[in-house]
């Protein structure tokens, strides 16, 4: 991981430096070109014009005339700035400000810029050589050494810029790398701590909200979810182990006792039957878990159809009514006629039955259970099962839907503590929620689902009925 970061920081810095170079070149090249074009070319042009003028003088007045003219001109010139020389066919100087024909001048006429030895000094000159009639040679030039500092400064300025850029790029690269590495290191350390098993660690998020912070936030959310899942799994496996151990322990002692005591046939069969029912309770827990897993996987969403929730609720009440009568409980059922949702008939039925069953178990002697199906103006459908029993204390209510959670009140009642988690899982599968609230007194469990009617349609079919199933009235 470190190597990747290192190379990516280096690449970044190198890239920036190269980009700087490119920008400098793009800036300097036209400048240099413009300088060349305007200064040098213009200078040669001037020299050529001078040459032509001298050639004119030569044509009019002959070699002696030009010599006199040149000598007169040289007298007015600032020495060293300008080169003027008239020579005969054998390159012997006739007039001008050079004592001899300089070496290094090409044989043919033309304009040149080249180093030339003048007075034993080597200097850069721009020069125009003209051939005059009669084999005479004319040399007009200008010392350009005067401009050399300018060019030198240009190049050294460029070099300085490149140097500054390189140093800045290198420093920048190092700083970027260091900052990047520090934060990556932080992430690595956190992740390493998490991998060692402590899931509570979180990445530090700075307030700047840059890319790495966004990444850190995303990773934190991921960790949150992983932690919840892991804890959930740990809780569930603990609870499974615990809940399964009880019937298994019973089964084991039963079988061991059988093999030790070898009782009469009749007694043996009784014990074997009891052992089978121990196994059945284990199987029942597994079945409930498998059903939960099936729902959690969300595989059943493909088989959704229109389901009448009010009808399912009515059936559930009818199903539990005889049991309620035994406990002297009563049901109140409020529904607005058929209430359709898109869902899984079996699962929704099971969810409603679980809620009613739950209420029945905990409401207590003589209690009353209210089942209410409602269509909300926003198109959602609610199904509430409320009882006036002891309810669940505030602190415990959020835990009630945890898998295998069993409140203190439920110790000793049948069930494996999966009922409400199953209802919650079913609600989730249908894009709904299960809410547990205080019914003052008692518990109100409300399932909210998406209705299959549009909101305004739902509005128009508002109607309510209420049925009372009282314990004493066995023919209700």
């Amino acid at each position: 991981m470190t190597r990747v970061i290192r190379s990516s920081a280096a690449t970044l810095a190198t890239g920036y430096v190269l980009l700087g170079f490119a920008a400098l070149v793009l800036f300097a090249a036209p400048l240099r070109y413009a300088w060349q074009a305007t200064v040098e070319d213009f200078r040669i042009e001037l020299l050529q014009e001078d040459s032509e003028r001298f050639a004119e003088v030569f044509r009019l007045r002959g070699p002696a005339g030009l010599s006199a003219f040149l000598t007169e001109r040289v007298g007015m010139q600032i020495a060293g700035e300008r080169i003027l020389l008239l020579a005969d066919a054998s390159l012997r100087p006739l007039a001008g400000n050079l004592p001899a024909w300089p070496r290094g001048i090409p044989d043919r006429p033309g304009s040149y810029t080249l180093p030339v030895n003048i007075d034993g000094q080597r200097s850069m000159v721009s020069i125009v050589r003209t051939a005059l009639p009669g084999g005479y040679n004319l040399l007009v030039g200008r010392d350009v050494e005067r401009y050399a500092p300018l060019e030198r400064r240009f190049w050294s300025g460029l070099a300085a810029a490149v140097a500054v850029l390189s140093v800045a790029g290198l420093l920048g690269g190092i700083l970027i790398r260091r900052a990047l590495l520090a934060r990556i290191h932080g992430i690595q350390q956190t992740v390493a701590a998490i991998m060692r098993g402590d899931l509570s660690h979180r990445l530090r998020v700075r307030s700047s909200g840059d890319e790495l912070d966004i990444l850190a936030q995303t990773i934190n959310r991921l960790l949150e979810q992983i932690e919840q899942l892991v804890h959930g799994v740990a809780n569930v496996s603990n609870s499974i182990a615990h809940d399964l151990r009880t019937p298994l322990a019973e089964l084991r002692s039963r079988l061991e006792e059988l093999s030790l005591t070898r009782p009469s046939t009749e007694e043996t069969f009784q014990e074997v039957d009891a052992a089978v029912s121990d196994v059945d309770s284990v199987i029942r827990i597994f079945n409930a878990l498998l059903r939960l897993a099936e729902i959690d996987a969300g595989m059943r969403r493909s088989g959704f159809v229109e389901v009448d929730v009010a009808d399912l609720a009515g059936k559930a009440i009818e199903f539990y009514l005889p049991a309620a009568e035994l406990e002297n409980l009563s049901f109140v059922f409020r529904d607005p006629g058929p209430v359709l949702v898109r869902g899984d008939r079996v699962l929704l039925g099971q969810a409603i039955n679980n809620l009613v069953d739950n209420a029945l178990k905990y409401v207590g002697e003589g209690g009353r259970i209210t089942v209410e199906v409602m269509r909300r103006p926003d198109g959602t459908v609610t199904l509430a099962v409320a009882d006036n029993g002891p309810g669940i204390p505030d602190a415990e209510r959020s835990k009630a839907t945890q898998r295998f959670y069993r409140g203190d009140a439920s110790r000793g009642t049948p069930g494996v503590g999966l009922g409400l988690s199953l209802v919650e899982a079913i609600a989730k599968l249908h894009g709904g929620v299960l809410e547990l609230t205080d019914n003052h007194p008692g518990l109100r469990a409300q399932l909210t689902l998406q209705g299959s009617l549009a909101a305004e349609e739902a509005e128009s079919v508002q109607e309510r009925r209420e049925s009372l199933y009282v314990a004493s009235d066995s023919t209700s």
Binding site: A288, R300, F319, P322, G349, P414
Partner: protein, 232 residues
């Protein structure tokens, strides 16, 4: 009954064939799909028990589909380790008549086989059911015992109807949940027993002979004469 068992797990085969033999039924056994299909197509069986997953390329559902295509209407009970609701629906859609998830109680299997066997021969146009002096008129929905009319709730009527249609057979709680209430899940309560005891009060309480019997560790049965208890 003559029963064909198509199942590859040796233990399950031993458990089922032994139990069926004890109950007086003969069983043929095939341990793969090819043999199963061959036997089912060449012999006459009252009921076929078909494992959902079999070794080889022919699985249980493929055999059932093949049999149904060949107009073989022998009742088929599907055995499966898959408990998903969807799997059950797939099994029934393929042409199976009932679906039982492993592990199961033998009593449950036997009761379902009995019910399937009976259904294969039942007269669909039957309008009255009779057990001893209890009569049920399916058209007028009247129930009479001796010369007394008995008032029943619609669901109680359905419960009694199911019991009477399977008179003399064990009916398990799961079968009642599935067929009377259409509940294909385990409500984890003993509410079915409460419904039965309520029904008993109405049809048995004031009479000398009680017709609805509890079969230990299996379920219930309605029957004319006092039945010996049977353990599953």
């Amino acid at each position: 009954m003559k029963i064909l068992l198509v199942e590859d797990n040796e233990r399950v085969v031993r458990f089922i064939t032994h139990g069926l033999k004890e109950s007086g039924h003969t069983t043929d056994h095939a341990e793969n799909g090819r043999d199963g299909l061959f036997l089912a197509a060449s012999e006459r069986y009252d009921v076929i028990i078909m494992d959902r997953m079999l070794p080889g390329n022919l699985d249980g559902l493929a055999i059932i589909e093949a049999l149904r295509k060949a107009a073989n209407h022998t009742p088929i009970l599907i055995l499966s380790a898959l408990s998903d609701v969807d799997e059950r629906i797939n099994g029934l859609r393929a042409g199976g008549d009932d679906y039982l998830t492993k592990p199961f109680a033998f009593g449950e299997l036997l009761a379902r086989l009995d019910a399937l066997n009976r259904r294969g021969r039942q007269d669909a146009a039957q309008t009255t059911l009779e057990v001893d002096d209890l009569k049920m008129d399916l058209l007028s929905r009247r129930v009479v015992r001796g010369n007394r009319t008995i008032q029943l709730q619609p669901r109680e009527f359905k419960l009694l109807e199911y019991l009477m249609r399977h008179a003399g057979q064990v009916v398990t709680r799961t079968m009642l949940l599935e067929n009377v209430w259409d509940y294909h899940f385990d409500p984890q309560t003993n509410v079915v027993d409460v419904h039965i005891s309520k029904l008993r009060q109405k049809i048995d309480a004031d009479f000398e002979r009680s017709l609805v019997k509890t079969v230990r560790s299996a379920g219930y049965m309605i029957r004319a004469e006092p039945a010996l208890e049977r353990s599953g």
